[in-house]
Assembly symmetry: C2
Homo-oligomer: 222 residues x 2
């Protein structure tokens, strides 16, 4: 299960922690004279919002990029805000099961987190668009004025924290982590560290410096 | 030196780590028929960009908020991008000396970082605008398409990392930190953690949860 692409496109790298998508779940929507795959269009919208941010992406940008006309866009997805929310939820769902599966294949949480964070670092330093993490970008851009997105982002955090906690707990039960550790706190801390890593990656730090910080952070599991 | 306001306004809280501003350094610019304090206008622009982000802030927003007309804005600061850069640099300079002074008054780095991060948490959870950190917001919003801001943000990171390193080094020399620690790596890690904290604070976590993560992170200095 380590065959996750480090590149961006329709496949979301595992390190962009979110949820699992059922890729067979495709809708074909009749919009005026054009038929299109809603999931494919959502993926394109997600990539554009991810790269440019919410405010900097105009409806015209979406029309030019998604390959559907303005009327189809509105009739299928609603306005820009509604499309953004759907695109984010698409992102949010897309990797949860993959990360879950990844964790199941790495019984030692220290080794698993090390690999997960290393993939995040590599994807970041290799991404010419420097998109960073869509969830982090959305949190910093949209939370102040958007209560609905704030709840979505809070839910995203809780879900990932719980995934991390369950993974640590299972690892502890298997003897990989000592019983004196506060796993709830560690799960929150690792999520916080991951968010920081995704920000700092955008300021061109040295890969070795980034990985050294991962090793030091994970020494908290010793 | 602990009398830093936890509120937002013309005074920037210490935890919004940046540089020191000389508040007596005021310019009075004659722009057409209006005289205004450039620093004061920059502070207003900074607060608006900080709250709304770059793309979501229009020139009309700036004109309405800064109390100067469009012609004065262009003649004094240039276009929106130039004004943003100046506003960010204003932010960047504003607290460096304060943080430096704060560190000098807290010889034990563990105690100092604990207090600094606690102030950041309190300011975040008490800020109704949920602005977060201007440097973090700018990193996630602007880096992909703006090489100049990328260099500014990289410089900001290096400057804060060096400040953290010097503080840790002085603390180590005074016996507060054992000599086996890799201080360069710890300085980078604490900066990364701080960035993550500023993101996560925007998703309404529990204050106790946040502080527990601070305590656990700082146990790396033991």
């Amino acid at each position: 299960m380590d065959d996750f692409s480090p590149h961006f496109g329709t496949k979301i790298p595992i390190s962009y922690i979110c949820g699992g998508i059922n890729s067979s779940h495709k809708y074909f929507i009749m919009a005026r004279t054009k038929e299109f795959d809603e999931q494919e269009v959502l993926t394109k919208a997600m990539t554009l919002f991810w790269k440019q941010g919410y405010a900097a992406t105009s409806v015209q940008d979406l029309v030019s990029h998604l390959g559907i006309n303005r009327a189809s866009l509105y009739s299928t997805f609603g306005d820009k805000e509604k499309l953004f929310k759907k695109a984010f939820e698409h992102y949010h769902r897309s990797n949860f099961e993959r990360v879950n599966q990844f964790f199941q294949n790495h019984p030692d949480p220290k080794e698993g987190f090390n690999k997960l964070f290393e993939m995040a670092v590599d994807e970041s330093v290799n991404d010419q668009d420097m998109k960073g993490c869509f969830a982090v970008n959305t949190t910093t851009e949209l939370v102040p004025g958007n209560k609905e997105m704030q709840m979505v982002l809070k839910g995203n955090r809780k879900q990932v924290e719980n995934l991390f906690y369950d993974y640590l707990k299972k690892g502890q039960e298997a003897g990989h982590i000592t019983t004196d550790k506060n796993l709830k706190s560690l799960a929150f801390l690792l999520f916080t560290f991951y968010n920081g890593l995704r920000v700092v990656c955008k300021t061109e730090p040295d890969r070795e410096e980034l990985m050294q910080s991962v090793y030091t952070e994970l020494s908290l599991l010793d």
